[in-house]
């Protein structure tokens, strides 16, 4: 009876490991450029990125963290700002409608959303349009308590635990860039998720 229970425990542990393990997530980048519509697709498993990035010790990137100089931060406490955003209700935080640029920064359904539309080219020349949707958990992981560094590995880890997201799109007259995360190893075109 005791042996039977031991075997049962091992089987249930293995089953938990097999079915409870989160599915591998992939970071996809797709760039479509030029009039000839050349397409570059890059697919990277997040687990691979988590292993490779800490091995890079080059310039300001060390052990998966990017050091930020004080001068770059201009005494802005990014951590405090993020904490404030995290604890605030959903809504538009910044809306700028300028002659050359429209900017919108908002928080919605646990995501930080940034939309920038460049209008400097005028109506006849379509300007650049940038949309960024990042889970707040990723943003929080990206900026740890030490405000002088950006923790890329923690952000990737948070990304792999968050849902499938279309994260960044950049569109202008010549190029289209899409960055997204999902559980597909191939680079099937993402649908708009926000």
């Amino acid at each position: 009876m005791r042996k039977f229970m031991q075997v049962g425990a091992v089987v249930s542990l293995l089953a938990t490991a097999a079915f409870g393990a989160p599915a591998e997530k992939y970071l996809h980048v797709r760039v479509t450029s030029g009039s000839d519509k050349e397409v570059v697709s890059v697919n990277v498993p997040l687990s691979l990125a988590e292993k490779v990035i800490p091995a890079i010790n080059h310039g300001k990137l060390n052990q998966g963290k990017v050091t930020i100089d004080n001068a770059d931060m201009k005494d802005v406490d990014v951590r405090a700002i993020l904490e404030a955003v995290k604890n605030s209700p959903d809504g538009d935080y910044v809306t700028i409608q300028g002659k050359d640029q429209d900017v919108r920064v908002a928080k919605s359904k646990g995501n930080l959303i940034v939309h920038v539309t460049d209008k400097s080219g005028g109506k006849e020349k379509s300007g650049q349009k940038v949309d960024v949707i990042i889970p707040m958990s990723v943003v929080n992981a990206l900026v740890p308590s030490d405000k002088h560094e950006i923790d890329l590995v923690a952000a990737i880890h948070a990304l792999s635990n968050s849902g499938e997201k279309l994260m960044v799109t950049v569109h202008d007259a010549d190029d289209d860039v899409k960055v997204w995360v999902d559980a597909e190893s191939g680079s099937t075109e993402p649908s708009a998720k926000e």
Partner: protein, 145 residues
């Protein structure tokens, strides 16, 4: 007659064993196909072991620059190769242009590169473990730190 049989069996056994050793580390597969009418067609399938042996015969001075450039990146290459080995088969990069198509993928423990343009078709497949070993071999060719 029995003696001849034993000798033959020994010889065949040795050849099979040698073949097994040579092929134990996989094969490098290179195929180049020029699409023009009188184009060159090359298809080489060589045991990785022979590539390793060949690398030993490259004069060290010829690998010095490559060694210096690759050495700082050894931990990154190690981590990337290990990560790729642990991952499922994957299409890492694909470039599709009007007249060129490039694919870099991992397939069954191999890194596979396919390039197709109007003039050539190139296919290279190399065992992932061999990439790591070859890079370490090249790094070791540089001056001792």
């Amino acid at each position: 007659m029995l003696l001849v049989g034993k000798i033959l069996l020994g010889a065949v056994g040795s050849v099979v064993a040698m073949g097994a050793v040579i092929s134990s580390e996989g094969f490098v597969n290179v195929r180049v196909h020029e699409t023009k009418p009188d184009g060159v067609h090359v298809h080489v399938i060589a045991p990785v072991l022979l590539m390793n042996v060949g690398l030993h015969f490259v004069p060290r001075r010829n690998l010095k620059d490559a060694a210096e450039q690759v050495r700082p990146w050894l931990p990154v290459i190690d981590a990337a190769v290990k990560g790729l080995k642990d991952s499922d088969d994957l299409q890492l990069v694909e470039v599709s242009g009007p007249d060129q198509h490039v694919k870099v993928a991992t397939q069954g423990g191999y890194m596979v590169v396919d390039v197709t343009d109007p003039e050539d078709e190139v296919h290279v497949a190399l065992p992932l473990s061999e990439i790591d070993r070859a890079v370490h071999e090249i790094a070791a060719a540089g001056p001792t730190l």
